[in-house]
């Protein structure tokens, strides 16, 4: 293993694992996913210098996660019903922890591509254009996938307030707020 590659794995490995964990929702699977992607990146690493190694590896993780081979291998089945469907949550600060658990359960039940879009948009803070590039789809596809995923979240009974309406009406998407990870 080249020193530069090893340095890259040591310094960016944690961030890659966090990303993989969020898209696949399982620690062990995330570890496998990152390793599979890094093996592929390493082949290219030795041939030509990878310009943006983190973005390149993140893309490899995404492709690996969305690949039909991995889908067959993991045999993940969509949940028949979303978790805690009957629970009503009032969005008070002390209930936020419960809300987050509920949201995470809903996110894990989303179709893979929608989940990836949400993670890239709300965790990695990528623009829709960058997400489209990662996924190799049109920007409009990214927007529609995100809209569907957010609609699933908003429509979840546990995430509605006492009046039965969603937590908040949809608003235009804000610009990224965080510095790059």
């Amino acid at each position: 293993m080249e020193a530069s590659f090893e340095d890259f794995v040591r310094t960016r490995g944690p961030a890659l694992l966090r990303y993989a964990h969020l898209v696949c929702g399982d620690g062990h699977q995330a570890h496998d996913l990152v390793q599979d992607a890094l093996v592929k990146v390493h082949r290219r690493w030795s041939v030509v210098e990878v310009a943006a190694p983190f973005a390149y590896t993140r893309r490899a993780i995404t492709n690996e996660y969305l690949s039909w081979r991995r889908r067959l291998r993991s045999r993940e089945l969509p949940a028949a019903s979303l978790p805690d469907a009957g629970r009503r949550v009032t969005p008070a600060p002390d209930d936020e922890l419960a809300d987050r658990e509920l949201v995470w359960g809903v996110v894990r039940g989303l179709p893979r591509r929608q989940r990836v879009v949400l993670v890239l948009r709300y965790y990695e803070d990528l623009s829709d254009r960058d997400i489209a590039e990662v996924l190799g789809v049109a920007e409009s596809t990214v927007r529609s996938q995100a809209a569907r995923a957010l609609a699933t979240l908003r429509d979840h009974p546990g995430l509605r307030d006492d009046t039965g309406s969603a937590l908040a009406a949809p608003a235009p998407r804000p610009l990224p707020r965080r510095s790059p990870r």
Binding site: V39, L118, L153, R154, P170, R173
Partner: protein, 138 residues
């Protein structure tokens, strides 16, 4: 940002903290990289690959240079398929590969040259069909 999006951000931030530790990543990766390796960097595999390619090229050249037997006995015609760019009909042909021209020499049974001609055409990279027609003298 609406509440759902805010909640989603917080949830993802929280959940990211539960990601597995990366402390074993390099150690776990090392044996896999050694197994996967780079074929072009493994001397034994590289030597085998080169030998196979050389054998394939030599076989292709031999096939290309081999005379193609076409022997119409008397008036009539015979057809044969000539591999790639070096047809020898029936006994001698010179050509370079890839070739845009092929010199075909036909010898009589006593060894005398019956006819010799240069055929110029498009680059031949696929097998070509050559038909020899022998006519009775007028």
């Amino acid at each position: 940002m609406n509440d759902v999006e805010r909640l989603l951000r917080q949830t993802l931030d929280d959940e990211a903290g539960r990601a597995p530790s990366a402390s074993r990543l390099v150690d776990d990766l090392r044996p896999r990289l050694e197994t996967a390796g780079h074929p072009w960097r493994r001397p034994a595999l590289a030597a085998t690959g080169i030998a196979l390619v050389a054998a394939a090229v030599a076989a292709a050249l031999l096939v290309g240079q081999r005379p193609v037997p076409v022997s119409p006995s008397g008036p009539g015609s015979a057809t044969t398929q000539v591999p790639r760019a070096s047809p020898e009909v029936p006994t001698s042909t010179s050509a370079t590969t890839p070739a845009s021209s092929v010199t075909t020499t036909i010898y009589g049974t006593s060894g005398s040259v019956v006819t010799s001609r240069v055929v110029t055409g498009p680059l031949q990279t696929e097998p070509v069909t050559v038909t020899i027609t022998v006519s009775s003298p007028p």
